[in-house]
Symmetry: C3
Subunit: 346 residues, 3 copies
Amino acid sequence: MKRTAYRLTDIVARFGGRVLGDADTTIDQVATLDSAQAGHLTFLASGKYRAQLAATRAGAIIVGEADAAATQLPRIVCDNPYAYFARVSAWLNPAPQALPGIHASAVIGEGARIDPTAHIGPHVVVGAGAHIGAHCVIMAGCSIGAGTILGEDALLYPRVVVYHDCVLGNRLIAHSGAVIGADGFGIAMDEGRWLKIPQIGRVVIGDDVEIGANTTIDRGALDDTVIEDGVKLDNQIQVAHNVRIGAHTAIAGCVGIAGSTTIGCHCRIGGSAGILGHLQIADHVEISSFTLIGKSIREPGSYTGIYPFSSSVEWRKNAAHLRHLDELADKVKTLQQEIEILRRKD
Amino acid sequence: MKRTAYRLTDIVARFGGRVLGDADTTIDQVATLDSAQAGHLTFLASGKYRAQLAATRAGAIIVGEADAAATQLPRIVCDNPYAYFARVSAWLNPAPQALPGIHASAVIGEGARIDPTAHIGPHVVVGAGAHIGAHCVIMAGCSIGAGTILGEDALLYPRVVVYHDCVLGNRLIAHSGAVIGADGFGIAMDEGRWLKIPQIGRVVIGDDVEIGANTTIDRGALDDTVIEDGVKLDNQIQVAHNVRIGAHTAIAGCVGIAGSTTIGCHCRIGGSAGILGHLQIADHVEISSFTLIGKSIREPGSYTGIYPFSSSVEWRKNAAHLRHLDELADKVKTLQQEIEILRRKD
Amino acid sequence: MKRTAYRLTDIVARFGGRVLGDADTTIDQVATLDSAQAGHLTFLASGKYRAQLAATRAGAIIVGEADAAATQLPRIVCDNPYAYFARVSAWLNPAPQALPGIHASAVIGEGARIDPTAHIGPHVVVGAGAHIGAHCVIMAGCSIGAGTILGEDALLYPRVVVYHDCVLGNRLIAHSGAVIGADGFGIAMDEGRWLKIPQIGRVVIGDDVEIGANTTIDRGALDDTVIEDGVKLDNQIQVAHNVRIGAHTAIAGCVGIAGSTTIGCHCRIGGSAGILGHLQIADHVEISSFTLIGKSIREPGSYTGIYPFSSSVEWRKNAAHLRHLDELADKVKTLQQEIEILRRKD
């Protein structure tokens, strides 16, 4: 496939910024500093990659004002090179087109309404009374539960499952294996046996949300589980029932969030972190990877709880003391008292 | 849909307990203290929510004996309000009916036996010689391996996969994306390369088990992997080959259990915990979230190993000492000896 | 099904080693020391199971030279009993045959090339221009993206998803729910909103790789994500964009590897471990379960960072000091100085 090439001058006309160097330089794809070739546009998002500038074979580069003079390459100078690069890349790499229509092998339930501009792939099942909005692309083998409402321009990759009666916003992207609306883990102990609590809430998802592969978002027990606008979830995340995730929060892979916890807006949560249930996390909180949050966080800021690794031999020597830290602290207190006595006598 | 309404007096006739206040109050749904409206039955499962009692707009409430006088609302008084609520909710919210029969798009292998009361949804595949018991509901896109036996009244949500030759009990609920019977991680090192060990055991699951979305239970290497009656597994749990999980144990999301470990009955395991392989965990053990169990637990009780979080700045200051705890303990020992010498001289 | 029986003498003729005891003993299956019966071949892979030798009812056993005299059972003596057992078991338990051909319900895109010896199961979707190599077995409901190339002898269990334009080597085994080639988690912050970075790299997988159930391997952002020959991945692992995993590395379940990290060859990574992004891990590194690797590892060796568990009561007492370790270390330093002063005066 021949790619369309654009001049830097075309790009700044569309996305802003200014060109330094030859504005007629043409590019047809984006690439990293390391692998870029002639015809490729690369970017310098952070000063720590400045050392790689000299060696890049890119045709042109996007840089911030601070780096405007750091290279002689034809360059676009702008405020936020990484966001600029994201926009150019999205323009050069549009999502593949899918033709409107319903594949012959799809099974559509009674009363389901599917916008004629939507694409329904092979072996998709749409439950009774579900709505699929304009320009949605529902790829092979997805299952949309009865009564579920899907906004416009959603893109569901193969084998996404949405249970019944959920409400999903516009421009949702959900990757393969994501499961939205399964029962929350609600059980009551009764004389040695667990009784299941019916999970009658829904999952309600705002606009511009992305959900990673094999991520699970459980439906509410009684009230709803809510994912607000602009939330970005990586792969293999578990969102339990009645969680609320605030707008524009981003969560990396393998995070687990227990039931009824509310997370604020604009938070960033690192991979494999965990958050216990029934907590409140304020807006603008950053949580490090591999950190368990065991109580509410009321103030914005950065929070961590990671056991530092070392060689296994050193770890064994040091970690043994963790089971006796209280004794160690007591010994130090006793020493302080004894020294105080000795000093007074002195 | 018009919901059926019941009087409190009807409910206690069915489920026991006694009514205080107007026994003719009718309710048609359950709800939380916060969101309940007229016509809703709520519950007070724990004293810590007592403060919300005054504000609830519920039509009626389920309370324990200790809280019988804590509200003037029409109320059902019983021994275990949460279990009582579970039963009433299950009665008001029955699982949706699925008509018996096999969808035209399903593919049924040679010699498979499917009870005529079972529902086999679109695009389901049932392998050769598999048995599907009475009243099972196998939803869209499930795959049941050759020779697998499924008891009565099982409910498999869309896209559950069960491999060949497994045995699953009555009333199993398995959520979307669950994979039962995939190969365990059995490999042998041979001159720098891994050889695969065929996994010829099965997965054997008792009655009344629930398996969460995207949870995986591997088949045994030689003997079987066993999940006993009444076990409840949340989402995204990994159960390795030859694990045995005792009856009525409940495990929260994202837990990983390594191979050949045996977990007792009536255990409770918190989210994202881990249990190493070849261990024995006694009955009635509670394991906290985010805790790694690295050796066998012989006594019932509660076990924890969580690194406490703090602000990232404080964490950095404190965590640095973990790599020198052994030195710190040595210093304290030296100080004790030196002080002892000084005191003797004194 | 009647199983074929082999004499020990047949087995050593095929796989090497030597027989002690009755070489005409026949076996038709492998089993553990505990559960083996007459007709079963068991093995002693490690001295720590020697106590079980006396009680085994196995027909014969595979042992190392050191254990040649440890039993009177008919036995095969060889260098690496576990690898030997793996080979014999693979011979006795061949993968089930799947007939060549494309199921009528499969949907094959334009220009896709499927080798006539390949098996394409029910409800499989193969995208436009994809290639499926000789003797591949693609089981029910798999989805192979447009332009993806699959080598020879691959075995994909039901409901595996491979996105577009990936390259997968020979003899790949991928278990149900695995998702290969979903978008990496690439987002750029722009005035309070996240912009998606198109993920235009691929996933490239070498030969003899196994991928566990519900494991996810994201496609590269710009360059490729690469899994080298002989890598073995257990279930529920998350491999982020632009990760490279070196040949013959084995990774246990629930591990998360963040973006752009390179892992060497012949590494072993324990379950639920995590590795942050943009790191370099040397060859022959072992990482313990539940350990977060937060900086590059340049030297082969064994690395650990686990918080040891204890009873919850003891944990609470000890863990409280972790938030004050820096103060504790300061106190010890002060005590050292004060004692030094006292000693000088003394």
